[in-house]
């Protein structure tokens, strides 16, 4: 068993915590907003997708690092 495997797993697992919490908060707030004002769902959609992409980027960084550790070193 290689230490690389452990490092990759840790990088992805720990790196997934923050974006997971962030995405959950963002999604719940967007649903709350749509629930309060269903007509605004069209307006909310684009900023929601943008915020989702920006939050998710952190998780993607962790994924790229972990893949590089796993396959390129």
């Amino acid at each position: 068993m290689d230490l690389h495997t452990l490092a990759a797993g840790l990088a992805m697992g720990l790196g997934g915590i923050g974006p997971g919490i962030g995405l959950g908060i963002g999604f719940s707030k967007a649903m709350e907003a749509i629930g309060r004002n269903p007509e605004a769902s069209g307006t909310i959609f684009v900023p929601y997708i943008l915020g989702l992409a920006l939050t998710e980027a952190i998780g993607i960084y962790a994924l790229v690092v972990s893949l590089i550790i796993l396959f390129a070193s």
């Binding site: 992409a53 920006l54 390129a72």
Partner: protein, 278 residues
């Protein structure tokens, strides 16, 4: 279990230019896009036929989004946003076709037989996504320069609002400008590459069970559908983020800044609702 190559594999070289299989994928996307543009504009008219109006639906949706967020001058950069969206979308969806990433020459590396595919997903190579992100960077800097003038742009970039904060805020500002390139390119690359690895892993996990349960026909299909959705979302995100950066660069005006360089647009900027909501 699954062979994963982060770099795009070389196919052949024309002089100093090395052609990788990702380049083939991207070129295919360009060809598809050019042919589609030629084919659909050949018989287009003011009164759309049924096929034409079907094709205009997604463009109208995107135009609505750009108009809603892009502000008053959305027509200037709408073609750029559409082009990025269509290019990334076609490149992502082409990579899901059967044969892409699977048909290739067998090669022996370290006593292990691997396949070097002829075509690889374009965005599964950092060179493609970094190139697109650099184009987007040049675009939003150029739009900012055109809207604010050189002096206005440099002043906006280098001098912070209370002048004594400049040494602290200017490096942060510069780094945040540059980090946009990295985050744009890494996001697309990471998503598409992870999608490829996910599909390969799912196929490898389920082919073992194929004699008992035909899972290998069902499970990767579900994930292929997921990848269709992700390809669309990532193309939308790349285009919308580029648009947001351009909008920010155009709207970056101080109330009493050096916006007198282009007197014709000054009143329009003053009336913009960007600062009025405070």
């Amino acid at each position: 279990m699954v062979h994963v190559e982060i770099k795009a594999e070389e196919l052949f070289a024309i002089g100093p230019l090395i052609v990788t299989n990702s380049m083939v994928g991207v070129l295919l996307a360009s060809i598809v896009l050019l042919l589609a543009a030629w084919w659909f504009t050949r018989r287009s008219g003011i009164v759309p036929s049924r096929g034409q109006s079907l094709l205009e639906l997604p463009i109208e949706f995107l135009a609505g989004v750009v108009r809603g967020t892009g502000g008053k001058r959305w027509r200037q950069f709408a073609p750029f946003v559409f082009a990025i969206f269509l290019y990334v979308l076609i490149a992502n969806w082409l990579s899901l076709l059967p044969g892409v990433g699977t048909i290739g020459l067998a090669e022996e590396v370290d006593g292990e037989k691997i396949i070097v595919p002829f075509v690889r997903a374009g965005a599964a190579d950092l060179n493609f996504t970094l190139g697109l992100a650099l184009i987007s960077f040049v675009a939003f800097v150029a739009f900012g320069l055109r809207a604010n003038g050189l002096r206005g742009y440099l002043k906006e970039l280098l001098i912070a609002e209370p002048a004594y904060m400049t040494p602290l805020l200017t490096p942060i500002h510069l780094i945040s400008e540059l980090s946009r390139v990295i985050s744009l390119s890494m996001r697309l690359f990471g998503n598409v590459f992870a999608g490829e690895v996910l599909l390969a892993t799912m196929l490898a996990l389920t082919t073992a069970t194929v004699f008992i349960l035909p899972l290998a026909f069902v499970v990767p299909g579900i994930f292929l559908g997921l990848e269709l959705l992700f390809g669309l979302v990532q193309a939308l995100v790349f285009a919308l983020l580029s648009m947001t950066y351009i909008t920010l660069a155009i709207a970056e005006h101080r109330q009493h800044g050096s916006s007198d360089d282009h007197s014709g647009e000054a009143p329009e900027q003053g009336a913009a609702p960007a600062h009025g909501s405070a």
